[in-house]
Symmetry: C2
């Protein structure tokens, strides 16, 4: 834990007191989003202190020219960067001619931020003493509308406290922004047009190279003591910026306010020549509701999200705040409306890592979206990969594969690989397995098989072909081996026979063949279409089968465990507990070679396999592997603690499970990894959800049946969650004393609780003792 | 082989005909140097076609800010770059107002370059038809004086062939140059002063950051039909450039010439405020001799170099030309006068790789310099590393080592590491072994032990400490292992138990302990001084010994060979012969992961160990290892074929040995690796020398005795070489029929020839039948 300034609260994230050191961290933590756009918690007014500005438009990216020290064949030319978009929040404030700038005020008091998770808004308030000794009070509330997702709304109020004052408010749009994570300090945007009409202004910009067109627009209204006023409007315009200027004499104690509706329309959703018109339509709709009407709709929209997705925890406010923060930020990032979008690892809260799509989506996010949204959302995420299949085949071709073998990219925006570290780009190939697993998982959970004959089978065949070609025969071992990979544990590079990779490779082939057979017999038309399209015959499939049947798995007879990779036992097996704490986190303290030859595990690797394929192993096997690998795991990836939490819970090691849960759920709030200022760890937040539902709740789907093995940490009085299972919603409440199940829907649901069948009827709570 | 335009010639490198496609390659091949400075074969007159400009001052470098895609802890901040220095060769030529530019002439005829290796000069001549139809003939000869090594001389002659003409000659100095290999397009030089006095001009510049001061100077004289003339001199000066302008009416057939003495003085050798004066002194000395006198001295100087270093080959002009080219370029790069200098992999012929010092020096260059120069030269190269010991200790500390462990850098200019690829920077640690081996080799060859008690012991202790700390104990193997390394074969990264690395690590420890013991008993004072300085006791030494005595070496019982690394036999062992030729060179055709998991060997790795430590293994063992590894070796490093050539010769596989010899000796002339335009492979040229002397000649030193096992390729009638062995010079001539030995010196020398003792007396040739 690196910081603890966030106030515990069940429904809000609250910061009190102004500290310049915390500004960038809070800009991340108080980020807002609505799936279509996102905004870091930057100040509306000018701020000359350290800040990391970020406004993002979903799906709009820039292919930044790759920067490397030493080029390797196969590196992509470009890295798709999440793009800082034109500033729509800006409101300059002048008080008796002095610009308000919290970095330069004599005093800042009563500074308070609140991100209200229940209602979906962010508010900041403070009382500042300017250099000219005027004291003003500011309250600014803003949100990104879920309903009209091209509009954000700001209500910015200023009250002179100790004197009358002349106040100038200057709302503006600014396309002259830059990207912190630019490789070459290139310009990312061209600004094409800056215009205004009455109280509205519009800037049309276009991204370089990708030619996304984005119109940034605003509409402003002014209020004095809550009554709308109309003032003479100054206009200042440059080639990249436009501002309106309103000057007011304000008496001591009076409040002036500006309401700014603003946001983006873009050429993914509109004709590029129609963006200003689209923007006007959005403002027409929004201003008809007004700030308060919009806010009221926002509360309703969030109420709906929480109705389905909320997890309650009683008796542990930190844990409660953590899980809600995670669920909220996931919903900021992706609402599942658009199959062209995906879930970036930092969502709309930072630029780092770039791209929008990692294997995180398949391995961590899909379970969350399956259970808390309509199943079409998860299907959209699967379809996204189907749409990128051709690119995945091209990607594999660049690495020397052929015959339709597909390697999905490590990082992408449009299907093209855009990562450039050879040990990851070329070798972290297990990502292909997660994509196949997500297909299996989707079918297992939803019962919807249709995706596979329609689309998934082609994806599976491409993946199976890749594994078949990637495995090579070792004459020495008389088995197929997979050499030179990086597993999920990125603290090992270019290793041989990573157990997880080999295991999922074998599984992918087996699963693909199983599906080909099923589709051959049950979906003849699809079978013929696909086999013809991909030019597959059974002779080829037999060769895959040979690889799957003779895959090598490194194993230690002594420890009775699968080895993370060949040679793992040659390491100096000093556990994390015996490591000098001053050496941690090792990724900040140690040179890379030292990390690589150490036994330390960045994130679940062998245990990730035990998580995906738990039915393949006994509880005793899980315990042996958990007891062996957990002590070497440093959890320096945000994706790690949740898997360990789930497994600790399964092993009834609840104290451990709880500790991992806290770490995953408050990773950003408490800034465990000392980097929250760069943005939030969005995808791992889905892992937090899993650690409650699958870990403590023990939820699984077995043979089309929901199954639970409910446990509860000692620290909690009770917790509850809901899951959408095949169009019915089951609410599970686990208390120390017992468990209840409630069902919304129209038919009975048979579930398993601790292995016993329980029938839950709609609107009829079932209580079981623990 | 990628090109074959160089004319075969015993003593010259000759190109005929002008081809813009070849300009950059020839700029490399016709490079000149004198150990203190170097110059690519750029044209004196303006050239607007593709060219790679390069003038270099020995020891003067720029620390270019590191550029990486993904930063790893421990990466150095800077990469020491060989620096393109101000242009001293420039002479603009105008004919009737039109600037001479071979890229724009109507016709270029009789274009010819010659690098005269015997006499040490470079000449270029051509007849050009300008756009204005004037035909001029140009002959330009230049060299870098060995005697006055701050001066280069150019004699540039112009003759109008078909008409009288007004000719303007504009000799200039230009500090406004740029570096092709700059990471960030930074400015590398600040120009401080531009001045002239009569026919001399001087530009004083300073490198950014490193603050090397360099004065670039010139002195010009004009001639008409070989008679010096004095003309009105125009002067043009900017902040970075100065030119003189001479206008002449020249009748058809008359020749005007400009003689330009120019070069560098720098603050490594002079007070920085004294550079212009030093430059004047150099010009005073040089102009007293005049161009012809200087040239004559140059011939004498080169005669002396060849007298000692020449290798003759009869009956194979390509082979003869190749070896002389190698010997000449080595002498261009390093003459051994200055212990602050070293042998850059591209010498003064390009920028690539940067730095000046790699393990190439110890592994490849020292034998050449020991045998062809005074032994003080090799001692200087060893002293260079002693001087960098503190930096090597700092380098190891950055990677987590302590207690005076030293890791010499992969690439350096001043002792600091400046390479930044983790798999090499942090893991190609075998370089440390080569540095210890060079100490051993120096003593073995010269018999001079004094370096070790005086300096080498401290180096050895730092290295032994490194290996002791770097090895870890494998409980599984019950041996010490070295995990996560890159061996000499850089087509394997982050491997475990690279046999070569483990072997040299063990040897380093053993050799260090052996020397500590010897010095303890024979050099008590040095012993006390060093042990005290490095704070070493015998308890620590015992721990080293434990590692050395229990080092693990991967071995295949089946093949009866040491394995290049753990798991090598798991690879698909398809030999190079069975590899589709369209796939080669694999480093240009394959992605990195594919290279890594292949069995292909970039350069001798296990066989490098067999080369260094041949006495430790039987001939049968060598044969088994050569037969196993050679078929997988792609020789995509310039340092590879020479070692294989030596071993093939030892195994009496002379056809193979000859093939490898040709490849190494004509690597650049024939541009095997399609990259000669970037510069020459200087350090591997010493390997070429070894492949004749140690390979064909079979020269070794055993128990203070020179030993030979002379062999000769079928293609050759005879070859000869000389070696300086302990202050006597032995000339060895090997013909198909027999071998002769001649000795210059004052005492008899007992040598071994094919294992039999032979005594050679001064000035008394010994002939032996073969």
């Amino acid at each position: 834990m690196n910081q603890d300034y966030i106030k515990p609260d069940n429904w809000s994230i609250i910061e009190e007191g102004f500290d310049v050191e915390r500004v960038k961290s809070s800009e991340s933590l108080f980020s807002i989003g609505n799936g279509a756009m996102g905004q870091r918690a930057n100040f509306e007014e000018h701020y000359s202190g350290p800040t990391f500005q970020g406004s993002y438009v979903a799906g709009v990216y820039y292919p930044d020219k790759t920067r490397v020290g030493w080029w390797k064949n196969g590196y992509p030319e470009y890295f798709a960067k999440v793009l800082n978009a034109p500033n729509w929040i800006g409101i300059n404030v002048y008080v008796n001619g002095e610009q308000l700038d919290l970095y330069k005020c004599k005093k800042v008091e009563d500074f308070r931020r609140e991100l209200n998770m229940k209602e979906g808004w962010y508010e900041r308030r403070f009382t500042a003493t300017l250099q000219n000794d005027i004291i003003i009070k500011v309250v600014s509330k803003r949100f990104l509308s879920i309903d009209i997702d091209e509009v954000g709304a700001i209500n910015y109020q200023v009250t002179p406290v100790n004197s009358d004052a002349t106040i100038v408010l200057e709302p503006y749009l600014d396309a002259g922004i830059h990207n912190e994570d630019s490789n070459w300090d290139d310009k990312f945007w061209d600004t094409l047009d800056v215009r205004h009409e009455d109280n509205r202004a519009f800037i049309t910009s276009r991204t370089e190279k990708t030619h996304f067109y984005v119109c940034t627009g605003m509409e402003v209204a002014l209020f004095k003591n809550a009554v709308e006023i109309h003032l003479k409007q100054g206009v200042e315009k440059s080639s990249v910026k436009i501002s309106f200027e309103y000057e007011m004499k304000v008496s001591k104690g009076e409040t002036v306010a500006i309401q700014k509706l603003a946001g983006y329309t873009n050429s993914m959703n509109h004709d590029k020549y129609d963006l200003v018109t689209a923007s006007k339509r959005a403002f027409d709709k929004a201003s008809a509701l007004g700030f308060d009407g919009l806010l009221s709709a926002q509360k309703d929209a969030w109420a709906k999200i929480w109705e389905m997705a909320d997890i309650t925890i009683e008796g542990d406010i930190q844990a409660q705040q953590g899980i809600r923060f995670n669920i909220m930020q996931l919903n900021h990032t992706y609402l599942g409306k658009d199959p062209r979008l995906n879930i970036g690892p930092k969502g709309f809260t930072g630029e780092k890592y770039g791209g929008s799509t990692y294997w995180d989506t398949e391995a961590y996010c899909i379970p969350f979206y399956m259970a808390t949204k309509d199943q079409g959302v998860a299907r959209n995420l699967l379809k996204y990969r189907y749409n990128h299949l051709e690119r995945a085949i091209e990607n594999a071709e660049k690495l020397g594969f052929s015959n339709g073998a597909a390697l999905y990219p490590m990082v992408t925006m449009n299907g093209e690989e855009c990562h450039n570290e050879w040990e990851i780009t070329f070798e972290e190939i297990h990502r292909n397995g997660a994509i196949a697993f997500a297909i299996y998982n989707y079918h297992r959970y939803t019962g919807d098989y249709s995706y596979i004959p329609e689309m998934g089978l082609e994806v599976l065949i491409g993946i199976a072909r890749f594994w078949h070609q990637r495995a090579t025969y070792s004459a020495a071992k008389q088995k197929f081996v997979i050499l030179g990979v990086t597993g999920p544990n990125e603290y090992e590079n270019n290793i041989n026979n990573n157990w997880y990779t080999n295991y999922i490779a074998k599984w992918c082939i087996d699963y693909t063949i199983e599906n080909i057979k099923k589709i051959e017999s049950e979906y003849t038309e699809d079978y013929d279409r696909v086999m013809d399209k991909v030019n597959l015959d059974w002779a080829e499939v037999e060769k895959w089968q040979e690889v799957a049947d003779n895959m090598y798995f490194p194993y230690s007879e002594e420890h009775q465990i699968y080895l993370q990779q060949d040679g793992f036992l040659d390491k100096e097996l000093v556990t994390v507990a015996d490591l000098d704490p001053s050496q941690r986190p090792i990724n900040q303290k140690w040179s890379w070679d030292r990390i690589l030859r150490s036994p330390y595990i960045k994130q679940a690797d062998t245990l990730q396999g035990f998580y995906f394929f738990e039915d393949h192993f006994s509880l005793e096997e899980l315990k042996r592997h958990f007891d062996f690998y957990e002590p070497f795991t440093v959890h320096e990836s945000s994706l790690s603690p949740c898997v360990h939490s789930i497994q600790a819970a399964k092993l009834d090691q609840m104290e451990q499970a709880y500790r991992f849960y806290l770490r995953t759920s408050r990773l950003d709030l408490d800034d465990y990894n000392k980097e929250v200022e760069e943005g939030l760890h969005i995808t791992s937040m889905a892992g937090t959800w899993m650690s409650i539902v699958e870990g403590f709740g023990g939820m699984r789907v077995k043979n089309d049946t929901l199954s639970f093995e409910p446990k509860i940490p000692l620290e909690w009085d009770a917790y509850s969650f809901k899951v959408n299972f095949r169009h019915q919603i089951l609410k599970v409440n686990v208390a120390q004393s017992g468990v209840t199940f409630e069902l919304e829907g129209d038919k009975e649901l048979m579930i398993l609780v601790d292995g016993k069948e329980v029938t839950v009827s709609p609107n009829n709570m079932v209580s079981l003792d623990r």
